[in-house]
Homo-oligomer: 423 residues x 2
Amino acid sequence: MSLIVHKYGGTSMGSTERISNVAKRVAKWARAGHQMVVVPSAMSGETNRLLGLAKELAPSSLTDAYYRELDMLAATGEQASSALLAIALQAQGLESVSYAGWQVPIRTNSAYTKARIESIDDQRVRADLAEGKVVIVTGFQGLDDLGNITTLGRGGSDTSAVAVAAAMKADECLIYTDVDGVYTTDPRVVPEARRLQTVSFEEMLEMASMGSKVLQIRSVEFAGKYKVKLRVLSSFTPWDIDIVEEAKSGTLITFEEDENMEQAIVSGIAFTRDETKISVLGVPDKPGVAYQILGAVADANVEVDMIIQNISKDGKTDFSFTVNHGDYAKTMDLLKNTVVPKLGAQEVVGDTKICKVSIVGIGMRSHVGVASTMFRVLSEEGINIQMISTSEIKTSVVIDEKYMELAVKALHKAFGLDQAPVR
Amino acid sequence: MSLIVHKYGGTSMGSTERISNVAKRVAKWARAGHQMVVVPSAMSGETNRLLGLAKELAPSSLTDAYYRELDMLAATGEQASSALLAIALQAQGLESVSYAGWQVPIRTNSAYTKARIESIDDQRVRADLAEGKVVIVTGFQGLDDLGNITTLGRGGSDTSAVAVAAAMKADECLIYTDVDGVYTTDPRVVPEARRLQTVSFEEMLEMASMGSKVLQIRSVEFAGKYKVKLRVLSSFTPWDIDIVEEAKSGTLITFEEDENMEQAIVSGIAFTRDETKISVLGVPDKPGVAYQILGAVADANVEVDMIIQNISKDGKTDFSFTVNHGDYAKTMDLLKNTVVPKLGAQEVVGDTKICKVSIVGIGMRSHVGVASTMFRVLSEEGINIQMISTSEIKTSVVIDEKYMELAVKALHKAFGLDQAPVR
């Protein structure tokens, strides 16, 4: 008998018919002898509907008191879907009970709308499991020290599920979603993209943070930290698919690095159009310059992704970094009006028509020449590289966004990702 | 400075525009220097929508586990509307915070879907009021000893508001609703019906239990028990109506009996078509008969309203009572198949085409002849009385339902209720 956590996204919970199918699938697992904890999202569209109402009432409030109420509001979506799933399970003849975040409790800090889980009390859930009940735990939400409801941010139910699995020491956490796993790259761009049977959590982390939006990135961090065996699989297979087959489907995100991982050097190609490039040119090359630029940007609550400083020439250097599209105008203003005059830099130039393409692979750690293969491939396609950034298991380049598809396709082929996986 | 509790029904909370108007009205009261606690219902239609989803999933479950989940589900409606109202108040420039029942907490027993309030902790709310915040408390719901969410049944938000007012020792509890007060009778039946400026809580109790569905009956009981000054008034007056005028509008339900109550003998005429009449004829007249009949009925969870036992004749008696339409078939079956054979009674006859008409008035206590006036009026209209039941402050008759309007109109006129109130 294993303890299994299932997580179902909003699309899987989108109607009573779909909730009923989720219940049948969970019932199949329970009847196979597993202890089951299920974490559902709100019914699709519900969170947006609720937050839309709030926006009609107070379009631009930014106070903590306001965010507290947003969490109070948004948390109802998951509470309702959890109760409905418990009812659907009862209709399948199983004993089932649902708990809101505060009932478990799932304790978080007080950062409303983007709270972080601090601890989970597993006592109540464990007692129910021991009595043979299927336990439903609301995703996305928790309780802070002051007794207020908090939510974990978009996609937070993934994190809830992984955190519950970690707290319960579950044997596996299955994330049911509307895709059937993690792919070598987006199949809409490269039709030859292949589903990965396994991917390491570090690779997943790099992919999640770079546009492969299968899982909330924090859930992957959590899984890595607490060694939760995590599987992403489709909720659109028939619910009565053979359970042994289902248990092997999708993509397993594993923390065991040496598990047949030798052959794959590059596991996937991630890409995003979400970023823009900003360069501060002719910066006097002296200590503290990076801090003066990036400190100001951070103070404005802008998250910076890639950062490049060129070598110095004539006592001057160029400084480039990328920020999200949404922060572009604000950051340009800040630099032009405040930072650059103070620094005595020459000018600030920006480019919104860029994209970032990354090759990700845990095998890059032990294989040399992977990055240079990437550069060669891009050069053969006549694609100019504007920025480069590397980590142990990924290499990212910034290129003109019009070459994005071409680059992704060429790299996908060059690293053999369109071939049947060897591992 | 007074402490005032406002309660707003689902229609008043039915859209963001209406919620915004509620916020403006509450803000007006707060700015007039009052400490404000507001208890909103769910947005109209929301509770039905949620329970409809549950019904699609499990049409006929009757277990405690199921009812627990229904409460978990239904409670989200008030949590969402409370958060929205807090946001709307913040948009009006007021500090505001909302609490779900479990956060106050409002403690109840564990009778899911029809729980009773046992206690309310006023500490958290009082601390917020002291800080100048408007406090929103979800209606309709509470927390049981096991940490589960409970709900109070249809109209439960009225009871929440009165209970909060009692716990906070509020100066007045204002129930904003879609009617502008309590009338001498239903204006749809008698256009001359007049709004009462005051009505005693005992009268209100009799009226509430007999078809005047302005307030949930339990809220009136609560108000009487804890001496909460309760006012029913319209939420459809413009929000910026003069506050002094607003504070005097609607109907005040008072527990002070001798407050200008002398002149009114009959305060109102209540009526209902909800009941049916069942008679067990030829019952052996011996001790224990009433118990054998009504005990069996009670065991089947059927609520009995009027009960009449005729005088005995030849050692036999007739036994009549009324039950709700919904319980009629079940009760007839039970009596025919189980009770009557055991009792040795002659037969069971039922009548679903009846109505009950009642005159209610606290002045009946000290005035004789009120009931006989009622009987005379009905007789003058040629209406046959089938059953009579009296209490200290009301007299009810069961008549053929086709005479209901005629009876109500005649009684309304005979007791001078169409005249300008003297009190």
